[in-house]
């Protein structure tokens, strides 16, 4: 396993996803696109505490 690993944990009993960046920063979201956008923005917004107001990614178009 390499050092660049992203993890997304779907919290049981909820609709909440907890994303953990390879840097250790965490973020909660209820939309996987929003969460991936946050994870892949590393290091932007990856302060040690969960951020609340990250922008959502436009819903993608199937290609």
């Amino acid at each position: 396993m390499s050092g660049v690993v992203y993890r997304v944990h779907w919290q049981p009993g909820s609709d909440t996803l907890l994303g953990t960046c390879h840097c250790g920063a965490e973020h909660l979201a209820e939309d996987p696109i929003e969460l991936w956008t946050w994870l892949l923005a590393h290091p932007a917004g990856h302060e040690p505490f969960p951020a609340a107001d990250e922008p959502s990614l436009e819903v993608g178009v199937v290609r």
């Binding site: 997304v8 779907w10 969460l35 199937v62 290609r63």
Partner: protein
Amino acid sequence: MGPNQDFPRNQWYVAAYASEVGEQLFARTVCDEPLVLWRTTGGEVVALADRCVHRRFPLSQSQRVGDTIVCGYHGFTYDGGGSCVAVPGQTRIPRTARVRAYPVVEQDSFVWVWIGDPERADAAAIPRAPWLADDAWTTVRGMEPLAARHSLLMDNLMDLSHETYLHGGYIGTPEVAATPIETEVDEEAGVVRVSRHMADAECPPFYAESTGLRGRITRWQDIEFRPPCLYVLHSRVAPVGVRPEPDGSDPNAFHVKVVYALTPETATSTHDFWNVARDFARDDENVSRFLTENNRTVVLQDVTCLNALEQILQRDGANYQELSINIDTGALAARRLVAKQVQAAQPAPAT
């Protein structure tokens, strides 16, 4: 990898099962490139472009003579490396008379082919599926042609919640769609993992018939996808509450490796190679027959669904915004890794 996008070219793809390629010339298209494959007298599999350099006659419809192919139109003759060794009526062979030869590796019951820059073909990078060629496992397999793009099959396999609705009565039960998933992306290794562990679930017919389990089960689904081609579902079923031993052994569970190779044929069609390897009832022909028929039925349910989606995508084009929810977390990750592979194969912009 839709019609408007290129394939990730500098990648290994499964072109065939090793058992499909013998002395006879064998045609298959991979990433829009028509290939002719055959096994030399030394037993080695070779792959050449399936077009004679002279008038583009398909070499797969030509004659094999020893370890050469003699074009069925005018007799241009090629060796296994793609070099032209004879042309009709003259002794001079034009310098440009050669067809492209593709790097090939036979491994884990598959014939892998490298479609991109041959200089970058590293056999050590081919993802492994050792169970398929291991005597400790029994494997049933098939290949279904899919009239749908690679990304539709990838989406399908990365989100198994569809088992509940599309494959009810075969592999789907209510617990699959109802159970949260864990997703992990190893960026440098190029792997997406999606896990769904059901502690107390109904046993679907696929497992009830093959294992003999009759009560409720603990069912684990652990996906490892190495885009763009190799998908492995590590499936573990056991009576409710039965867990692996502290030493890591797992003698009281049944294990299945469901291995798919997703190989683009064209921008809108895909070779859907499927394998089911098991570590139980290994010599039981009835179980093999049942799993072959049952899994093929499941795959054909996917084929019908994805073929319909392909038609809809072609009709609606980009005038459509899809919606993703939590179950799509892994599929979104897989799409991104494939997009990254496509981008990596693009020529660098001029500076």
